[in-house]
């Protein structure tokens, strides 16, 4: 009987998947940014710094759009190999070459500091710009599709190089008195597919193969409270609650209320 594959520091892959659920990163004095709590094991000498203060400030200024945002990330620094995983979801690495990619905040696990991370104007999403490697998780393997396409909101992981999505509603279904009744009460049968995200233009859209969402990770402080900023609440006059670092699942930001 064949036993399981036994890995050690020399046989672990370099910046590649160990199995569909775990990713191995090699550090040679270099740095990686991780989301908090995604490291499962490491060989060698690696330090994990919560960031926001101290000597790493300059690095952070180049990679994060605001210092507050950085509180949800960790810098791994040192020599060795570390394994990243997230609640036994599928993980994959992607290479960006002078490109941009927008991803749901909960799905991004780690990235190289050569990429810069910004908050997307779409609430709950993050945008990576530049050249480098990043690791993202998905619930089931990722499917790549090209626009024009309409996708289910829960299945969307992210998109690269194409303009932001817009909402698409099945108006034939929602129109009229019966449509209104259906929409408000669900009577008469709603299929659950009356609303999609629509993508047009050139680029790639990333989908996961389930409609189960991953837990939302904080994307940093809310957008500035200005008129004309999506999710900023400008003009509504309601002040967002002050947030503690590390707080999970901000529904307000998700829905842009």
């Amino acid at each position: 009987m064949n036993g399981p594959v036994i890995h050690d520091a020399t046989t672990l892959p370099v910046d590649d998947n160990v199995n569909p659920y775990a990713f191995s990163v090699e550090l040679k004095g270099s740095k990686w940014f991780l989301q908090k709590g995604k490291m499962i094991a490491y060989y060698g000498r690696i330090d994990f710094h919560g960031i926001g203060h101290g000597p790493l400030d300059r690095l952070i200024a180049g990679s994060f759009h605001s210092p507050l945002h950085a509180a949800d990330w960790v810098v791994a620094e040192g020599q060795g190999k570390m394994l990243l995983a997230d609640r036994s979801f599928d993980v994959n690495s992607y290479d960006l070459e002078d490109g941009n990619l927008t991803v749901r905040s909960g799905n991004l696990l780690a990235f190289e500091p050569s990429l810069s991370l910004k908050q997307s104007i779409v609430p709950g999403f993050l945008t990576l710009i530049g050249t480098g490697k990043f690791v993202a998780a998905s619930n089931g393997p990722v499917v790549f599709v090209e626009p024009p396409i309409r996708v289910d909101p829960q299945a969307l992981v992210g998109w690269a190089d194409c303009p932001s999505p817009c909402h698409h509603y099945d108006h034939q279904y929602l129109r009229g008195v019966m449509g209104g009744v259906r929409r408000l009460t669900g009577l008469g049968g709603a299929s659950g597919e009356e609303h999609q995200f629509e993508f047009v233009g050139a680029g790639t859209v990333l989908l996961q193969s389930t409609e189960q969402l991953m837990a939302e990770a904080p994307t940093g402080e809310g957008p500035p409270d200005e008129a004309g900023v999506p999710g900023g609440g400008g003009g509504h006059g309601n002040q967002p609650m002050p947030r503690l670092p590390g707080q999970l699942g901000d529904l307000q930001r998700r829905f842009g209320l």
């Binding site: 009987m1 036993g3 399981p4 594959v5 036994i6 890995h7 050690d8 520091a9 160990v18 199995n19 569909p20 659920y21 775990a22 989301q35 908090k36 709590g37 995604k38 490291m39 499962i40 094991a41 490491y42 060989y43 690696i46 330090d47 994990f48 710094h49 919560g50 960031i51 926001g52 203060h53 101290g54 509180a71 960790v74 394994l83 995983a85 997230d86 609640r87 036994s88 993980v91 503690l244 670092p245 590390g246």
Partner: protein, 212 residues
């Protein structure tokens, strides 16, 4: 002798010819042939084992399965990993142990701070002897070798089991930033030194340490 094999990655099939295995209570999903299932009160290590388990919080609901044929075991679609033991000791959390051959002895041992950080208590289950055991993991487990030259650090939430002669240290990176809400989320690790294998799962249980 009972033969353990994997039927897919989430079902364990055990071929038996009149011998017995110990399995997590209620984990049988199907069987062929003639089988009897007997609940072993208090973990099946006799009265002393039962008392120890009660006192240490490492209670196991165990049944003895005996018969001729093939018995299939599974638990909440968790991934199953087979471990062959040749006289060494497997340390595993009671909740991660699915099935062992009857020839293997189970017991409890003190683990120290590691258990406390996971909220699993200060004790863990040991499996000793020669034979096969099946352990559960959330996602395919990764087996990592530890040698004297290459110690390994593991997040307490991802650790499931280990074998061999390993020393465990509890290492913490708590500093003043942790208390300012700028913690790294990786403040606690278990450091394994010595010679052996460590099983980790690609998922972290919710731990006290994980939030720091």
């Amino acid at each position: 002798m009972a033969q353990f094999r994997l039927h897919g990655s989430k079902v364990l099939a055990v071929d038996m010819a009149g011998d017995a295995v110990k399995a997590k209570n209620g984990s049988m999903v199907a069987y062929e042939g003639e089988m009897t299932f007997k609940k072993l009160t208090g973990g099946g290590d006799g009265l002393r084992g039962m008392m120890t388990r009660r006192l240490t919080g490492e209670q196991m609901e165990v049944m003895e399965v005996k018969g001729h044929g093939t018995c299939y075991f599974a638990d909440r679609a968790s991934e199953i990993n087979l471990v062959s033991l040749h006289g060494e000791t497997l340390y595993v959390e009671a909740s991660n142990l699915l099935c062992t051959e009857a020839s293997l002895r189970t017991g409890t041992t003190f683990t120290g701070l590691r258990g406390a950080s996971q909220g699993n208590g200060l004790f863990t289950t040991t499996v000793e002897g020669t034979g096969q055991a099946a352990i559960l993991s959330d996602g395919t487990a990764i087996v990592l070798r530890v040698t004297p030259q290459l110690p390994l650090q593991v997040d307490p939430g991802a650790y499931i089991a280990h074998t061999g002669r390993l020393r465990q240290h509890f290492q913490s990176g708590v500093n003043f930033r942790t208390f300012l809400g700028e913690g790294s989320g990786e403040a606690f690790q278990i450091r394994f030194e010595g010679e052996g294998l460590v099983y980790v799962q690609p998922s972290e249980r919710n731990t006290i340490g994980g939030e720091v």
